[in-house]
Symmetry: C3
């Protein structure tokens, strides 16, 4: 069975670098599953810069919606890093896909993987209640999906200022 | 002496379910002290749905303001779950009651209970400074009352993605 | 070598009181390095009230921008408490000073101190993405500088409801 690790934390808390390090410790080369999509030239340039920074130990695939498919296709080829769950949720909501169902399907897929999976997500519920109703709905969904995937994961870590704290 | 446990965490971090589980481990049946009040039919329906979900092991009482009275009346009848401190603070501020005094009275009452008390509260100070002055004032008050009750509690846990991290 | 400790946490999480206690445990008298500046009479009165509350065991110096200079000048004279890093960053950005460079210089200075340094900072990335572009930029910078100083510090603690959780 492939180990699954969830890394959560606030914005700019060092989650992605920590997750990259952990993934490479689980095997090389590794597969980076990006949930971000390039919608314009600026975004394309930023993504290309990230690919180049990560270097030749990584192969990058893009999965803005079909994360389950990307995990199933890449299983057996090395450890995977999914960056990130929160953006995937945002993509699902934008495409009006049933996100609780998608979260359940992801949790089931995780448990069936033979290669390891590291997933980055975000803590978004630590501020005051947002005035914007859409922001409140997103915040609730993000918290719910974090709980769902944390329950399925073997390990959960909270990243603070670049360092992991063990949650599960 | 009844043990007192404070469960804090962000929105949708799984605090309430964790607190329900912990309360039932301390004894059955348990008493649910709700600080939310039904102001309209929609809210009444939501509260009724929660009561029905918790099931017959729980008796529900409502204490939007007089939390001290609700704890004193129910002492000796089983473990109590207070859900939640942040909403209680909001009710106090809205009713223009002196909340630091009320927090002190709650802390004193906690120390005198013979049955256990589990209290749910919220982390609301982890975002950027709110632009709204009222939101800043509420954020400061919520942090202050969390510190006051944490100091009086026997245990404090931070809930992240459904899992508790021991704080005190 | 002087030990360096970073205390992070949300607004009103009890960081400053915790940091004051830790600093006095490292030696007395102690030096309080304030990054806040009095711009008007109200602010002056608040600062004077803080100085008076801390009492005679503390000497207060002000360093809204030149934190490196304040640390170098006070080294060898007792433990220092810097309160806080987030406000210092805000001062740097307002003065249009290159904050990543300043953060690097601070990290280098920390490693060269012979007396201990305790630094208070803030978690500001735990809420939803701010709508305001300036707030997003500040949030990113605050997270980056927290990571930079955490990497240089001997210890990092997350303060929750007045209690420290060990991060590093």
């Amino acid at each position: 069975m492939g180990k699954s690790i969830l890394i959560t934390g606030g914005a700019r808390s060092g989650k992605s670098l920590l997750a990259e390090r952990l993934t490479l410790e689980l095997g090389r080369p590794a597969i980076y599953i990006a949930t971000a999509e390039a919608h314009d030239a600026e975004m394309e340039a930023r993504i290309a810069a990230h690919v180049s920074r990560r270097g030749p130990e990584w192969r990058t695939v893009t999965a803005p919606l079909d994360l389950v498919g990307a995990l199933e296709e890449s299983d057996g080829q090395g450890p995977r890093l999914v960056d990130c769950l929160t953006l995937w949720l945002s993509n699902l909501m934008h495409a009006e896909i049933d996100w609780p169902d998608a979260g359940d399907a992801l949790a089931t897929t995780l448990s069936a993987q033979t290669s390891p999976v590291v997933i980055v997500t975000n803590e978004v519920g630590g501020g005051i209640v947002p005035e914007n109703a859409l922001a409140r709905r997103f915040r609730d969904a993000a918290g719910a999906i974090n709980q769902r995937i944390a329950a399925a994961a073997d390990e959960v870590h909270l990243c603070v200022a670049g360092y992991p704290m063990r949650v599960k």
